[in-house]
């Protein structure tokens, strides 16, 4: 994607302000439950991690996946099933969900990376639709009802997660861990190769990189992290439902990332926070939410392609 660029992260000094921004974000998230509902903040963090995982693909490899709901939703089903039916502890349930999404990511990724650009988007969308019908038909997902009343259980068999504080701390830890992992991936030699592939795929091939393997690995990582977000969400809301695998969820994560800023480190977090708040406060408007979302899409594409954080970074003249 030639139009989506992040400034080259050069010397360590230039990254210092990102560290400051990270600490600021962590402090805000840790203090937020004093001001707003903890459940709302946990939802924001789950979706922020989901959007960050999605951004790993679009922002740094230039691959637009229009089917990321399949990883998010599938992991939430598997985690909910593991916690409720198998009676696993929460950390194992989340792990099961994440592993399942990684596996699904490997299969879907192997197929989708065979085509580029616009076809990649259509293929991921179609595969996600297949997963949606699968979830609709197999008995373990509970069809239209979903899996309800998922027990949160005790973390490591010790900490009771029905207490809001404990659950909040777990979600915060998972979110910050996932965020740092993505940050590390993007700034590693592996991440540099991903960016090289985004900028000029033929050049990367001619330099001897096995482009498909890098793309696949990035895809699996992104899928696993999206799964981590979905599995956590299943425990937070004690619910896994068809909404999480539907294509509109795939569209939503694209919107969050686009609004926050494609290819920025903090953009997806801000985008997720804005979209989730909007849905929360506009919930009584019913179908108008879809109209508003569509309008944001159109405005972002036509006039606001850098996104919120992209604009701020431009203004500060520093990559965020």
């Amino acid at each position: 994607m030639a139009a989506i660029r992040t400034p080259v992260p050069g010397i360590r000094n230039e990254l210092r302000h990102q560290r400051v921004a990270f600490v600021l974000m962590a402090v805000i998230l840790a203090g937020a439950p004093l001001v707003v509902y903890p459940l709302f903040m946990m939802k924001v963090m789950c979706f922020a991690l989901f959007a960050c995982a999605f951004n790993l693909l679009i922002g740094y490899v230039g691959l637009l996946s229009f089917g990321h709901a399949m990883f998010f939703g599938m992991a939430s089903y598997v985690a909910a099933h593991a916690a409720k039916v198998w009676g696993l502890t929460p950390e194992l349930a989340i792990l099961c969900g994440t592993a399942c999404s990684a596996l699904l990511g490997f299969v879907a990724g192997s197929l989708a990376i065979r085509r580029q650009g616009i076809y990649f988007a259509m293929i991921t969308l179609a595969l996600a639709q297949m997963v949606f019908f699968f979830c609709l038909q197999v008995p373990f997902t509970g069809g239209e009802d979903g899996i309800q009343a998922v027990p949160r259980g005790r973390l490591f068999g010790l900490i009771d997660l029905t207490q809001v504080g404990a659950m909040y701390a777990l979600v915060l830890a998972i979110f910050l861990g996932g965020f740092l992992l993505i940050y590390r991936i993007v700034h590693s030699p592996f991440g540099q190769i991903l960016k090289a592939i985004r900028e000029n795929e033929s050049r990367a091939i001619s330099l001897g990189y096995d482009v498909d393997r890098y793309k696949l690995l990035a895809f699996v990582l992104s899928a696993a992290l999206a799964g981590l977000a979905g599995a956590t969400k299943a425990l937070v809301f004690q619910l896994a439902s068809l909404t999480d695998v539907h294509w509109s969820m795939s569209g939503e994560v694209v919107l969050m990332t686009l609004l926050g800023g494609l290819g920025t480190v903090f953009g997806p977090v801000v985008g997720a926070a804005i979209i989730i708040s909007m849905e929360n406060y506009l919930a009584q408007l019913g179908a108008w939410v879809t109209v508003v979302q569509g309008t944001i899409f159109v405005i972002c594409v036509l006039a606001f392609r850098r996104g919120v954080i992209g604009e701020v970074a431009q203004w500060l003249k520093k990559p965020l």
């Binding site: 994607m1 030639a2 139009a3 989506i4 637009l64 229009f66 197929l111 989708a112 065979r114 085509r115 650009g117 616009i118 076809y119 988007a121 259509m122 293929i123 969308l125 179609a126 595969l127 639709q129 297949m130 019908f133 699968f134 609709l136 038909q137 294509w247 569209g251 694209v254 686009l258 019913g286 179908a287 108008w288 939410v289 879809t290 109209v291 979302q293 569509g294 309008t295 944001i296 899409f297 159109v298 972002c300 594409v301 036509l302 392609r305």
Partner: protein, 295 residues
């Protein structure tokens, strides 16, 4: 009653007919997508919403203005096509210099807006559209009952598809179009108004979707959601066929409709997913699509 492979022939032929009907819509819609993609390099995500608009405008013409099916068949593609022209002029034309993915995102947003607006106005439940007098009833063929309207849909969409193929592959206008697909700058240098051609092409593709919507109105319920899921199946059809060839889109559309119909008879659980499974297999064997060339 006669049986084929242990299936009553009545059911088998019935499902094959439904398959052909679905195939007609796949063909019409994927043809429109292919024509638009050829010249604009944009995947028109709004296509499903425009198909839905076609059905709704036909419904409104009948119930508000008393204008029947045959008028709708002529008027609706023009009306909805005109909205397409406006969209292209106001929005899409600003994106040609950018990455193609922005076109996908913009048209996705437009689809959300259109579907949301119609859902606000008309609710989620389907509205019935009365079938035109002339095409009611059907023929008894001995082995099955053949409704007239279904025959009409298949024949009409096949005719439209073949006419589109003829115009693009065999006429002078079509040769301009194909040349502009290859090299727009050079075609413009020969004094042909390429931007106008692009606008009209988008309008034409949208018109095709609206036409499919009018034809679908008497068979399916007219509802705001009717295009949402369909467009994803059509995307899979497009991936299977490859967008390089017009004839390819038509053949793939009808073929996959038939396969879907057969699946409904032999293994109904997979009827929703069979097209996606075929897409996965095609990607493994021939990534460029059955009729496509890898660029």
């Amino acid at each position: 009653m006669s049986e084929i492979f242990g299936i009553p022939s009545q059911a088998l032929f019935g499902q094959l007919l439904i398959g052909l009907i679905n195939g007609s819509f796949y063909a019409l819609l994927s043809l429109g997508l292919a024509v638009i993609f050829g010249l604009l390099n944009i995947i028109n995500f709004t296509h499903g919403a425009q198909y839905m608009m076609g059905a709704f405008v036909a419904y409104l013409l009948l119930n508000k203005l008393g204008l029947g099916y045959w008028v709708a068949l002529a008027v609706v593609p023009l009306v909805v096509g005109a909205t397409g022209v406006v969209i292209e002029r106001l929005m899409l034309s600003r994106l040609y210099k950018l990455d193609h993915l922005y076109g996908l995102l913009l048209t996705f947003g437009l689809a959300l807006i259109i579907q949301g607006l119609f859902r606000n106005e008309y609710g989620s439940s389907g509205l019935p559209y009365t079938m035109p007098e002339l095409l009611r009833g059907g023929q008894k063929l001995g082995f099955m009952f053949l409704p007239n309207y279904r025959v009409w849909v298949i024949v009409a969409s096949l005719t439209v598809c073949l006419a589109t193929w003829f115009v693009i592959e065999r006429t002078k206008l079509g040769s301009y179009l194909r040349a502009a697909t290859e090299n727009p700058a050079l075609v413009q240098a020969f004094g042909i108004n390429v931007p106008r051609m692009i606008t009209l092409t988008y309008g034409f593709g949208v018109g095709l979707a609206a036409l499919a919507g009018v034809m679908a109105a008497p068979i399916y319920q007219v509802s705001p959601q009717m295009g949402g899921d369909l467009i994803i199946v059509v995307f899979a059809v497009v991936v299977i066929g490859g967008m390089g060839s017009i004839m390819g889109s038509i053949v793939t559309g009808f073929g996959l409709g038939l396969i879907e119909g057969l699946t409904k008879v032999f293994y109904p659980e997979a009827s929703n997913t069979v097209i996606f499974i075929i897409m996965a297999i095609v990607l493994l064997i021939r990534p460029a699509g059955l009729f496509g060339t890898q660029k």
